[in-house]
Symmetry: C2
Subunit: 425 residues, 2 copies
Amino acid sequence: MRTLAQDVPKQLDREIEVSGWVHRIRELGQVNFVLLRDRSGLVQLVFNDKIDYTPETVLTVKGLVKANDKAPGGAEIHPTSVTVLSRADQNLPVQVNQDPDKYPLEVLFDNRFLSLRMPKLRAIFQLQSALLKYLSQFMHTEGFFEMKTSKLVGSGAEGGTGLFSVEYFENKVFLAQSPQLYKQGMISTGLERVFEISHAYRAEKHDTPRHINEYVSFDVEMAFIESEVDLMNFEARLLDFVFTQVGQNNQAELELWGATVPAPGAMLKAPVVGHDEAKDLITKITGKKVFEINPEGERALSDWALETHGVDLVFINDWPRKKRPFYTYPTADGTKTHSFDLIFRGLEITSGGRRINEYAMLLDNLPKFGMTLEGLGAYPTIFQYGCPPHGGFAIGVERLTQKILGLANVKEASPFPRDRKRIAP
Amino acid sequence: MRTLAQDVPKQLDREIEVSGWVHRIRELGQVNFVLLRDRSGLVQLVFNDKIDYTPETVLTVKGLVKANDKAPGGAEIHPTSVTVLSRADQNLPVQVNQDPDKYPLEVLFDNRFLSLRMPKLRAIFQLQSALLKYLSQFMHTEGFFEMKTSKLVGSGAEGGTGLFSVEYFENKVFLAQSPQLYKQGMISTGLERVFEISHAYRAEKHDTPRHINEYVSFDVEMAFIESEVDLMNFEARLLDFVFTQVGQNNQAELELWGATVPAPGAMLKAPVVGHDEAKDLITKITGKKVFEINPEGERALSDWALETHGVDLVFINDWPRKKRPFYTYPTADGTKTHSFDLIFRGLEITSGGRRINEYAMLLDNLPKFGMTLEGLGAYPTIFQYGCPPHGGFAIGVERLTQKILGLANVKEASPFPRDRKRIAP
């Protein structure tokens, strides 16, 4: 019966069995130490003999638990038997017990099966697992239906640029940029409230610390809303739940990165500023006239929100029509849209808004975006079949992970990131 | 403040507001009825005037709730005001209030945004949402980490046949058939226990009621197992949890299909038979000599399990080596493997097994499958870095949905199914 490393200190003076990877070896001559790593943490093994296991070798060890203030958790194991389950090679391209900062990002990505063993990098995906859990838990509790829609589509939701093409038998199809059209279709079937957590693809050629070509999109759509305000309120409650749970249950991962999440309730106080007001604010804060809300502006707004509202998240709504996709619902005067972004610590993590649900309005809007009905397949029929007012939003899961932990590059939040040059491992 | 259809009977003699789709119209002259449909069910509206809303038009209705034994839930609404939120066209290609059996499957798929409004078809995806919830809930409770791995890969996990290719910038990559290689990589990073729910792709040309070219795969991998028996025991506990939850919380969906799930605890009694024993059993039951375990044989085994063990699920283990993928761990005598299938009501819903975790054994195995180290990218390095004994399994989410509800074709369990000819909507 195996004991996890974290539970060893509870077994003082008992004979137990642990299994894991040789994390670090320290040989002093008479007394030699092995730190063994498992999914729960580290445990110290004490040997009198020379250590003949290489780092990363997998062992099962039986032994007696003894108190030792200097060992992790205040206990160590004096082995009575050791079984080697799998030997690791002598020279590994990455040293797992070193700080990841010692290696260039490209080396960490090239040797991903090793670098993910580093406790600090592994923590990224332990946290991400928790995010997936809490996001989905909140949605099910709120009565949303989880769906999985096709990623092989005939055209793009965002206007046809930036699509990867797939040879599909005798046809050519594309990898979906988002489940946008399907989630609108699904709410109109009467499910009313849906969400999906799936991969999405953007064939963007540029390489920045904010972009990734394959990412995980958390998508939400809900019917019978009045305006984007309902969506922002809902997202605030959702993220407040997620931040609260992470703060309670993922302290170990946060500490490894010196990170914190907004305190319980803080997210509910995130300010909402209109697009034009946001530009004025940025000008006022930075002293520079801005024409677009750029990354520097997004950082300035986050700082402003933290100072004035105690939370480093800010919603920007009332976006100009031409800056949003064709399906966005315009304001009554036709100049702006019922749409919003959410900025978290200087990075847009969400785009959302009310969608056009009237066929005539869609027809009127398409030429403004150089689009035609024909290019949209069955999508426009949704609005001929009776479609309630609705809207939704999407959160990039890697970006959310990145900003919680303070990762420099969003690719660090993908276990096997894909960019223009990287397609392996 | 909106009231859902299911809650109307609790509001007798009160003025309330409901919203939904016009499901059915019955005009008797003096008294006319509209059944309004929302995500929770149906509510009857009573009018004295002629009805001028077409089916599927979306309404918000205010009115007084009155008792009526003949109305759904024993209550109906006498409207005081009606707002039309969205008008539906006069002639819809599918009548939502009819039984789906009245239409060929292809018509239901061609008009998916309408046919999914049929309560019976919508129920498939309400049930599927519950399955996604309970599968994931069990895994998180058991301490597994949820991961999302890349679907753009350099080669296939199952030997290179049946892959869709993607134009990826200057390169050609493939859509992943399964997260097999990544999930082995992830357990070896020390996460030890992982799961993923993502799309998977098979470029199989044949068109059968059991196959689908894009499906949702629920994948599990765990380290430090002894053999496939640990995996079968774990899957039995997982499915027992899922069946129990569905039986408690999804009676409405089950009833629409006249379906039942195995009773709580039944799954834990599912028999395990060896591959050769299974063939003998099939011969004995059907009176026909079998050379392969074919669909007919799988049905016979399920019936046998139900009769003898009270549950229509049966594990088949000890598969011959050449019938399993290259990464499957062989038995000590080298003829068979530590692998298994799970048959549910005559259909394989799971394949799984212990994996090879020794580099030398992998090297020895590859030529037997006509494979080379080079074709596997970084995968073999996992076993040079120290990799514990491990294994896992996968459940096809559409197949599980299909067999719970008794759907004739697995494509019915995909909201937007893809087959060789179907790429829309």
